[in-house]
Symmetry: C2
Subunit: 473 residues, 2 copies
């Protein structure tokens, strides 16, 4: 560690206090990404400011010293977006101690939360106040508000409430020169210049550091209806989605597809997982309807639409939840898909999207191409079919060496991506770019789009100190 490094550590310690800064082995949990994709992360220190002003002071000190900064919330990035590289030159700036709900207003249906508030906490605080903060995803017990906004997280309820972006009204952020931008406006309409807040959302901390957000709340659902359905094929899943959407688009809270491949890994490997249907099938969907209206008649709607679809031969069987416990059990089956795949050995994840109408073809063509690429491998697609977003994952052949299988990761992702490209899809639907997909940006977003992104990055962060090596190639 050279002279500059020591002096910046002294400065940062003065700003955040000795308990606000971590070094040595205490840093370990902050250096390794959630999926353990990289084990080379090093840092000068982990700094944990207690306020926006402290964070601003830290940024100013780092900019003056030329020290790169890696913003980190709950460290649950699926693409290694929140951990430092191997250089050891950067500091990690954690929002851990900036975790206050500053304000909640159920008349305006807004909440102002600091970046370090855990998503689950935000949901709970809203619920206690009698409102819904609808963003919901697997990592919600660790992911933070700053993180879900910086990555424009999606999850299960996008089909009804939108991504994190759509749930955000205003932001407070520390810009790359250390100045504080107070854009915490709780307004539904505000057309006053460029949408800086939308630029920071999804920028993964490369254009500024989100420190707090004004979020939208919704009325709590008063009626819910959930079913697990066995389906004839992928087309039936799309057709069923369409039936519900056309009937009452605002009632569809989630609509999740699960292939037999993926579902059966859950049933065979996850302790306690049982299928509430008479027989296994080739395809499943979870239908989740909700409404804030009392006596919304969702159960009737569910039965009616399923009966129609059964008559058409699309739905083979369905289990309708009769209680909160049964709803939770059906949802658990869906949530255990990553775990089921993990227990079955190595798997390669993907996170692609296509126009909704192309999902069935995309699943079939990708599965076929993957089986051809690695004989004996098992395509295990599942995900948010209502958004056109499928995790087109691949489980290893049971008899193959895991390391040899994982060595093919890039081939596997490329195989899926080439199918997705044919349908005008995206190679990253909800996980973002982080560190692992920067090398795809030139190919997929090159030309006018990438040029504009790079010009914006150079304009706002001319020294390139904000989350270097992420998003842009």
């Amino acid at each position: 560690m050279n002279a500059i490094d020591t002096s910046i550590l002294d400065t940062l310690t003065r700003i955040v206090g000795p308990s606000g800064i971590l070094g040595g082995a205490d840093m370990t949990p902050y250096l390794v990404d959630w999926r353990n994709l990289y084990s080379d992360g090093r840092a000068l220190a982990v700094v944990r400011p207690g306020s926006t002003q402290e964070l601003s002071d830290c940024v100013k000190a780092c900019v003056a010293a030329g020290v790169p900064m890696v913003p980190q919330g709950g460290n649950t990035s699926m693409v290694a977006g929140a951990t430092p590289d191997a250089s050891g030159r950067a500091v990690v700036i954690s929002t851990q101690r900036m975790n206050r709900i500053r304000e909640i207003d159920t008349l305006d249906m807004t909440m102002v939360a600091e970046a370090g508030v855990i998503l689950k906490t935000a949901q709970d605080v809203a619920r206690e106040a009698g409102a819904l903060f609808p963003l919901s995803l697997g990592a919600e017990g660790s992911a933070t508000i700053g993180g879900v906004l910086s990555t424009n997280a999606g999850g299960n309820t996008t089909v009804r409430y939108g991504n994190a972006r759509e749930l955000m009204l205003g932001l407070e952020a520390v810009m790359p020169d250390g100045t504080i931008w107070n854009g915490l406006r709780r307004l539904r309409k505000d057309n006053t210049g460029y949408a800086l807040r939308h630029l920071l959302v999804g920028a993964e901390g490369t254009l500024g550091f989100i420190t707090a957000a004004a979020l939208r709340l919704f009325p709590l659902p008063r009626e819910e209806a959930v079913a697990l359905c066995a389906l004839r094929d992928e087309d039936a899943a799309l057709s069923l989605f369409r039936r519900f959407r056309d009937r009452d688009e605002s009632a569809v809270r989630a609509f999740e597809y699960m292939s037999a491949g993926s579902m059966h890994l859950v049933l065979d490997n996850v302790p306690g997982a049982t299928l509430p249907l008479a027989e296994r099938a080739g395809h499943y969907v979870l239908v989740d309807l909700a409404s804030s209206r009392p006596q919304a008649g969702l159960r009737e709607l569910l039965e009616e639409v399923l009966a129609e679809a059964m008559e058409e031969g699309e739905v083979l069987d369905a289990a309708l939840a009769e209680s909160g416990a049964q709803r939770a059990a059906i949802w658990r089956l869906r949530e255990e898909h990553p775990e089921g795949q993990k227990l079955a050995g190595a798997s390669v994840k993907s996170d692609v999207s296509v126009p909704v109408s192309k999902v069935p073809e995309m699943i079939r063509r990708s599965s076929e191409a993957l089986r051809k690429l690695i004989p004996g491998s098992r395509p295990v697609p599942f995900g948010h079919i209502g958004d056109g977003n499928i995790h087109m994952n691949l489980a290893q052949p049971p008899d193959m060496d895991a390391a040899a299988f994982l060595a093919r990761s890039h081939d596997i992702m490329d195989t899926v991506n080439e199918v997705v490209r044919d349908y005008g899809g995206s190679f990253s639907a909800e996980h973002g770019i982080g560190r692992i997909k920067t090398d795809m940006m030139e190919d997929w977003r090159g030309g006018a789009e990438l040029a504009a992104m790079q010009a914006i990055k150079a304009a706002l962060d001319p020294k390139g100190l904000f989350n270097p090596g992420k998003v842009l190639p």
Copy 2:
């Protein structure tokens, strides 16, 4: 006209053909803004490319010649955002001839429309295909898709479907160097770098030229229920909104407030306008419920909630539309507010927003301050109370000289704005900045936010040729 000017006109004529370029008196309708705020507009020519490629070629030629460009759609800007300044150096680039619906897909619920498609046409095409394009506003018969996106237009249905921004999935645009960006992705989830599309939306053509857009469609409503209500006071309007929102937030398609001042100018001045209530009142709201669900029970919901609110003394009387004709008649009363004000003499418009809960106080305090500023003047507020967006307009005192009244325009706007500022509101909710509000940007958005906007403008349009003099001071 100097040598350079002539040469650029030759070049542009070669690109768009002789019928694509207008000069002399033919330019007049393109030079005067919709509200006739400025009469000094001049231009080298009005260029009307017939395709994105032609538009790109025009931009490249203008950039090479250093000629400023003013993008124009339907020329319905409320803030003189689409007309050139007095210098006569610029060309107006009109999207008039780029008016194709390229694609409509009711399975994906998307539509790809060129920039020059008129909003009303987009609505009609969607409806004929069995879907809803929900953006709806007064100027829809002239405003274009490019214009409503460039200004992030709002209108009557924002409370349910969002602003233009929320209805846009992808864009095609010509960037300020003339390159074409094809970002016409029809994806609900796509987290691949900075949200360039959200940066262009609302940038009023200063960062690039939107040439086409992928738009979201929704199921057509199968049931509608509309009522006009007479209310006790402004608080009752807010309370009634809250009752409907809490009961079924997804059913509220529009919720419009109208003050007595404004409503009575309509009733007294607009031929054929009649109040479907027994007596005039101090405050009115239009409630518009809609659902794609058959037998949604909206009429019952309307009656139930209004009965509750009557019992509380909030609603004094209500007329429930019994037919499509009656619904249209109630909506016409709302739509005639600008006309009613126009027929009553001079008026000064504003377009402010505050958090929804602050609307009643904001209306009362602004009205009082305006009456004090200009004795005898008549505050005539109306607008989208469900979005916190009120047009806090002021009609002249009947006995005052119109020109003398209009000379006070800035004082009037400032008076409203100072109240709005107290509530963390915005000085431009849905109309944007254009030419008339650039001088407010430093005061309202100065510091980190304006600095970031200026850095982005300089990075993407270093020569400042795209819609100069608009948005930024």
